[in-house]
């Protein structure tokens, strides 16, 4: 039974939310929201007794009365405040959301092929809700994750991206979710729906950033359908503020012959929980799932990934790497399920962690459940410190100790950074990792 004192404010907020939103919304959506809040009321915030949450105490989120402000517009912020988070005006389309609400003034679209839609989900929700009905909440199911249920009850805006058959969007599409502190603190529940039809192709970046210290809550859900033979390159860049809370759930369905590469970067926030779940729904799908978390101070990041090999002949490669300094905590929990029919599955899962401090903590739980008999799967995880042989080797060539350690730490991250195909993002990521390292001035050419 859920702790009513913690769920009650959200249930009350939902009643207020409905009074504002309900009139203008399709009935199926209102009904979906009500079911979701009931589910949340029933299960409540997860506690550490839940297997999926045993290393992450979400009490600080549950106890904070984050406000939702239904029907309001995005707070106005100056464009130069977000410059450090963008990837170049001439190189990508960009939708900006402030505290979860679309900010048209900061957004722009580059040329897009016929029929491609890149727009505010809030607008679609109001103007043409029927186009959402077949997809919304069908991929990101909400019964098992209370935060996803909360998002389903409260979401108002986010991105809606639809690529028709064969459409190729060459330039990246950047979704930038900005949190600006408000008093009392606010919760944003952004919702993204990404639909790639057959043989279409896109590159998508989701950024979550904080402008002020916080606190605030971002509780994002991204649903992705990748049609037959379609291809998606997805990046998530989490740079929340020091006192920001970040919870995100990305759910992906991959149809036959589709190719997905998803990279999750976690650098910010006080407490972040990141779920990625991918289901193969057709044969011949290919998935690369990468993650990099670099933490310090008292930060905590919990990555949960689930790959469901439900169909034969699919391939998945997963590599998550963590760099932990200070008293930070990193959690990796990965599960790969190879169902009985999923013969000829090839799956590899790796989690590697580098501890830079004696007080940092890592819990790594890779996992494979194989029900088919003709598969090639392996998984492994490592937790270690910098290789002192390597440190000495570099020092013996005249590189000072601090620089040697920074260089080796950077090298640990570079395996993932080098896989980022969007050049402007790769360079930014290089800078962000280097800026955390001492003696970084000798390193800018390391890339």
């Amino acid at each position: 039974m859920a702790t009513a004192s913690l769920t009650a404010p959200h249930v009350a907020a939902f009643e207020a939310f409905q009074r504002v939103i309900d009139g203008g919304e399709a009935e199926w959506l209102g009904s979906l929201r009500r079911k979701a809040i009931l589910r949340f009321q029933e299960v409540g915030f997860p506690t550490r007794k839940h297997e999926d949450w045993k290393h992450t105490d979400v009490g600080p989120i549950a106890r904070s009365p984050f406000r939702v402000d239904p029907g309001s517009d995005a707070p106005r912020i100056a464009g130069d405040l977000i410059e450090g988070f963008t990837f170049g005006v001439l190189k990508c389309s960009q939708l900006v959301f402030v505290n979860g609400r679309f900010a048209p003034r900061l957004s722009y679209l580059r040329w897009l092929p016929d029929g491609v839609q890149v727009r505010s989900l809030g607008e679609v929700r109001r103007a043409r809700p029927r186009s959402l009905e077949p997809h919304l909440a069908s991929i990101a199911t909400w019964d098992a994750n209370p935060f996803t249920a909360l998002n389903t009850a409260f979401f108002e805006d986010g991105a809606f991206i639809h690529l028709p058959k064969g459409a190729v969007v060459e330039e990246p599409i950047h979704l930038l979710f900005v949190s600006a502190a408000q008093d009392p603190p606010v919760a944003a529940h952004p919702r993204n729906l990404i639909l790639l039809e057959e043989a279409s192709q896109a590159t998508l970046i989701e950024s979550y950033v904080g402008l002020d210290r916080g606190p605030y809550l971002t509780n994002a859900v991204t649903e992705v359908h990748v049609g037959p033979g379609a291809s998606l390159d997805h990046y998530k860049m989490q740079r929340e503020a020091d006192a920001g809370f970040h919870v995100a759930d990305m759910a992906v369905h991959q149809d036959r012959g589709s190719v997905v590469s998803a990279t999750s970067i976690a650098l910010g926030g006080n407490l972040a929980r990141n779920d990625v779940r991918v289901t193969f729904q057709g044969e011949g799908g290919d998935l690369t799932l990468n993650g990099l978390y670099a933490l310090g101070g008292q930060q905590q990041v919990d990555n949960h990934t689930f790959i469901d090999h439900a169909t034969p002949n699919c391939t998945s490669r997963e590599l998550y790497k963590g760099i932990l300094d200070g008293r930070s905590r990193g959690i990796f929990y990965g599960k790969i399920l190879v169902r009985q029919d999923a013969q000829k599955t090839s799956s590899k899962q790796t989690n590697k962690n580098l501890l830079l401090s004696n007080e940092a903590f890592v819990d790594s739980t890779p996992g494979l459940e194989i029900l088919a008999d003709d598969v090639r799967c392996n998984h492994g995880s490592t937790i270690g410190q910098l290789d002192e042989n390597a440190v000495f080797y570099l020092r013996s060539r005249g590189i000072d100790e601090e620089a040697a350690r920074s260089l080796l730490t950077y090298a640990f991250a570079s395996e993932l950074i080098n896989q980022v195909k969007v050049a402007s993002m790769r360079i930014r990521l290089d800078q962000l990792i280097l800026s955390r390292l001492p003696s970084a001035e000798i390193l800018p050419e390391a890339a």
């Binding site: 290789d387 042989n389 020092r395 005249g398 620089a403 570079s414 050419e445 390391a446």
Partner: protein
């Protein structure tokens, strides 16, 4: 150039070197030979300043300065170079980037201007030819996936680029086939001059057929038990180390 006096070194609380005396002048090549476990590698690592190799007694003077007071990186900067027996693989750090960073750290110490990318390429191109390395080599990760022979060639290549005053070669011949050995030896020999000294540590006399030493010292049981000219290496090739280990044991008893 290098004066080692009564050097005692312990590793993990165990005394490995039990009083080494050695003097090397500029222009000389000294070989240290000895059986496995005699302390050859310990001597090489201690000279380079490896953490965990504790000098419990003795002195090492390099060009009049106390070498033991310097950090490993500072020893490299004043011209001490160790060619590792087991060079470390460091994926994610490019060979070229690594070597340029090292070279500029050392040039800075010498009071020479740092090299930019183009000047650096000019410096290394010639040395790459010397060691028979092709262009792709510089683009690879540092020793990443290198064969044993490639790693050893890379050590000598680094030595050629960094131009140290004192070269310590730790079992550079181990794991090399005869062709690779010739290339490595040619690289080393091309660096011999009257301002540079070398200390060649090896188990076998094979390498010394290519890099001909001026002096040979035999290390056994943590002490130098015999010193002589290059003919000592040939003698050891014939007689082996067995007799010398006994001599070391006797010496140890006598010392007590």
């Amino acid at each position: 150039m290098l004066r080692v006096k009564g050097l005692h070194v312990s590793v993990g609380g165990k005394e490995i070197l039990k009083g080494i005396d050695l003097e090397i002048k500029a222009g000389e090549v000294h070989a240290i030979m000895g059986p496995n476990g005699s302390g050859k590698t310990t001597l090489a690592q201690a000279l380079a300043g490896r953490p965990g190799y504790d000098v419990t007694k003795g002195k090492v003077t390099y060009e009049g300065k106390d070498l033991l007071a310097l950090k490993p990186e500072d020893r490299a900067r004043v011209g001490v170079f160790l060619a590792f027996q087991y060079p470390v693989e460091i994926p994610g750090v490019g060979n070229a980037y690594f070597l340029k960073t090292a070279l500029n750290a050392i040039r800075k110490q010498r009071g020479e201007p740092e090299l930019d990318a183009i000047e650096f390429i000019q410096v290394v191109n010639e040395k790459m030819k010397l060691l028979g390395l092709d262009e792709t080599f510089m683009k690879r990760g540092l020793n990443e996936g290198f064969s044993g022979g490639e790693k050893k060639r890379n050590e000598i290549f680094q030595m050629a680029v960094l131009e140290p005053r004192l070269c310590v070669l730790d079992e550079t011949d181990s794991g090399l086939d005869i062709d690779a050995l010739r290339i490595v030896a040619h690289g080393v020999n091309s660096m011999r001059n009257d301002k540079r000294a070398m200390l060649v540590v090896t188990h076998y006399s094979r390498l010394l057929g290519y890099i001909v030493p001026d002096f040979v010292h035999v290390l056994a049981g943590g002490r130098i038990v015999k010193s002589g000219g290059k003919e000592l290496a040939e003698e050891l090739e014939r007689t082996g180390y067995a007799g010398l280990e006994e001599a070391a044991a006797v010496a140890a008893t006598g010392a007590r």
